[in-house]
Each structure stands twice: as structure tokens, then as C-alpha cells.
């Protein structure tokens, strides 16, 4: 098991909205991780889009991940609820962390009664279960960087941040995607204070509701 995760980004406050899917364009950036845990399965940093049940016991997400001393890889992961263990799928090659943008999306399929995990429009994973059978509504779109240690960095820096743009939700009433408005999402930053190295995690709104996450010295 790895250490508990820490987050930096924005999400639909639980119990708000009427969503069943999510989408974001996310720039791929390098995220440094701390040195004391050399197990890449335990010590990693990620950026992703996700839709989760209201209670967050279950989720479907796509993004990229980088473990200690390893390259950055695309991934998809689905979890039915806390009773079940996640299922995952990874890219077979490393991706460049030069700001290339990936479309990470989770779409509820009204015909299959399933949730699709998609990257750049391609289906990566499909749930074999109907999220409406397991998750409390409304579902919550979430857009985050994640690190298993707060001594690790959110990917990107002030000059070259990890941008989250084109944020969308999937309306549960129509099954259609729509642009998420400004001042709808809730921020969560688990490491606002300066670390020992003087750096902090940032999550700056750019063109609302688009935002950048990154790690840099205070004041950036």
C-alpha cells in the first residue's frame, strides 16, 4: 500500500449539480516525486479527470501518472465501490511531458448503462456495471493533480503549468455534455503552505473555470 494521497484542483461539491460524466483537456507536465520512497507503485504523482459517485466510493477516471524514477504513462481506472478493487489500464509507452494536451473524459452510456473512460476520444475502459446501481447521485466531476506525498510536486511549474481547460460535465437529465460555468467548482489544495524547500502547490484560475496547477516557490 502506498501512503495516503493529496490533491490539488477543483471538483463539483458533493451533492451539487446533476452530472453523470466529465471531461477536461489536460496538459502533460513533469511531476517530481520525493526520494525517500523508491517504490514507483507507492510514490507517484498524477493528473486526471474523474466522475465519482456522490459518496466517492466508486469512480471512473483517466489521466497520466508518473512513479518514482520512472516515465509518465497514460492510465484509466475504474472502481465499482469500496467493496471492489480498482481495475486499471495503462499506456504501453511513455508520453512526453512537453505540454501536449490530452482529452480525458468519462461518459455515461445510456444504452449500455455503463460508464466509459476515454482518452482523446478513444474508449480505454468500460464498466461492466451500471454506476446508477452502485453510486449515490448526483455524481461528481473532479479535476485534480494527485500525489502520494506532499513532499512531491504537482506536475508543472509557474512557467509551464499543468493546464485544465475545456471543462465539461455530462448532464444526467439529457446525457449531453455541457461547458461547466464559472464559479461552480470547489477548490481543494492539500499543500498551500511553503514546504521545507520553499515551494508550494498552486491552482490558479486562468480563464474561469479553466485553471493551472503546478509547484513553484512562493509568490509564483
Amino acid at each position: 500500500m502506498y501512503k495516503n494521497s493529496w490533491f490539488d484542483g477543483y471538483f463539483y461539491a458533493y451533492g451539487s449539480g446533476n452530472n453523470e460524466g466529465s471531461y477536461a483537456n489536460v496538459a502533460a507536465r513533469y511531476g517530481a516525486v520525493c526520494d525517500t520512497d523508491t517504490n514507483p507503485s507507492h510514490n507517484f504523482v498524477e493528473a486526471w479527470a474523474m466522475v465519482a459517485g456522490r459518496d466517492t466510493q466508486g469512480y471512473v477516471q483517466t489521466g497520466y501518472t508518473r512513479g518514482y524514477n520512472q516515465c509518465t504513462v497514460l492510465f484509466g481506472q475504474v472502481r465499482q465501490n469500496d467493496t471492489f478493487t480498482p481495475q486499471s489500464k495503462y499506456g504501453t509507452s511513455c508520453i512526453a511531458t512537453d505540454g501536449t494536451t490530452y482529452g480525458f473524459g468519462e461518459r455515461y452510456g445510456p444504452t449500455c448503462g455503463c460508464e466509459y473512460a476515454k482518452i482523446n476520444g478513444n474508449v480505454w475502459m468500460t464498466t461492466s456495471w451500471n454506476p446508477y446501481s452502485y453510486w449515490a447521485t448526483p455524481f461528481a466531476p473532479e479535476f485534480f493533480g494527485e500525489a502520494t506525498y506532499r513532499e512531491s510536486d504537482m506536475p508543472g511549474n509557474a512557467a509551464n503549468p499543468t493546464s485544465f481547460t475545456g471543462l465539461q460535465g455530462q448532464d444526467a437529465s439529457t446525457d449531453n455534455f455541457y461547458n461547466i460555468g464559472c464559479n461552480v467548482l470547489t477548490k481543494q489544495n492539500d499543500w498551500l503552505a511553503n514546504r521545507g524547500d520553499g515551494e508550494s502547490w498552486y491552482d490558479r484560475i486562468t480563464s474561469c473555470p479553466s485553471f493551472n496547477i503546478y509547484t513553484d516557490v512562493a509568490g509564483h
Binding site: 500500500m1 446533476n18 469512480y59 481495475q87 486499471s88 474508449v123 448526483p138
Partner: protein, 197 residues
Amino acid sequence: MGPIAQFLTPRRARLATSLGVAAAIACVLVVAEAVGANHTSGLTRAQVQAKVRRGHRWPVGGRPAHQAVSAGSTALSEQGVTLSPATLQAPVNAGASGVSTATDAVASLRSLPAAVSVFGPSLASGNPTATRFDVTESEPQNAGVVKGAPYPAWVVSVSGPPVFSGIGSPPPAGTTCDDIGIYDLEIDQWTELLQSC
């Protein structure tokens, strides 16, 4: 529940509290700031029930248990992969990229940077096995794989701990999964890296 914790899930709020004690941190710097609210009304109970009745493939609570990779057929439903007993012949030029035997397949996966990145030490110190299967994919990532068309493959599997995002509760202690690499002998490439739990 204070103004910070109210925006966290109950689980995250508990996590923040417990970590504050366990890590002896005076103040856990978990900050959530509300910048607005969406007042769209949610689905009615009847609307949710209508969606529940739509075509999910397994009955509620009846999803089959984890299928370990075995000599028989294995369906990795979420990943869109089906493993069937090998009947297809590998092409005559298979192995041109250095992967011909089971030993080759294991060695190749152990040196694949993406596999090392996501499977970690399990791949290096575990006991991977390589088995010939016919593989069919419904959601192929590799452009050389045709959706629904079986191909001859080496399937390398090794037991490993679950890798998961920090949402919800950790899987029960002792949970093990199959870390799986699939090598297409027709196009001589790794086509899938999966974790099945």
C-alpha cells in the same frame, strides 16, 4: 464539521483528521474553498431507477469475482480484453523484435519503461509467467490491433499489489492483483498493460 471540512467528503474529512494525528502535524493543511454552487436540480428517484434498469451486464451485486489469468478463457471486462486458449499460429517472422519465447517475453516486459513505471518492483522481483493466448480486444489502444479480431500473443502475468488512486477506502490488506502485459506476435509490439484485481 467546520467550514473547511464541510466541503470534503466524510472520508476525506476523516482522513485529514486521522493524518493530523498520525503524522503529528499541528495543522493538516487541507484547504477547500467554495467559489460557488450549482443549483441545478438532480434526478428524481424515478429517473434514477429508470437509469438503473438500463442494460448493465451484471445483476446488481452479482459481478463475477476476479478472474485470474489461467489456461482457460479469461474475460477482463473493464479493460476490454478476452484471453482464449492459443489456437492461432504465430507468424513465421515472429520474434524479429527479439520476443519469440516465453523467456523473451518476460525479459522484454521487464525492460519496457512503461511497465516498470506502473508495475514497479513486482515485475522485477516477482515471478512473472508467460503464456500463449489468442487475444481479442474491444477497445484496442494500438493502431495495429483490429477491434474484435483475435491475435496470437504472449501474456505475461505477475502478482502485484493493487495500484489505485487515493479515492475511497484502500482495498483490504493482502489484496493481490494480476499485473498483465500483452505482446502481439503479429505486429511484434506490446499492446496492453493492465492490472486486473
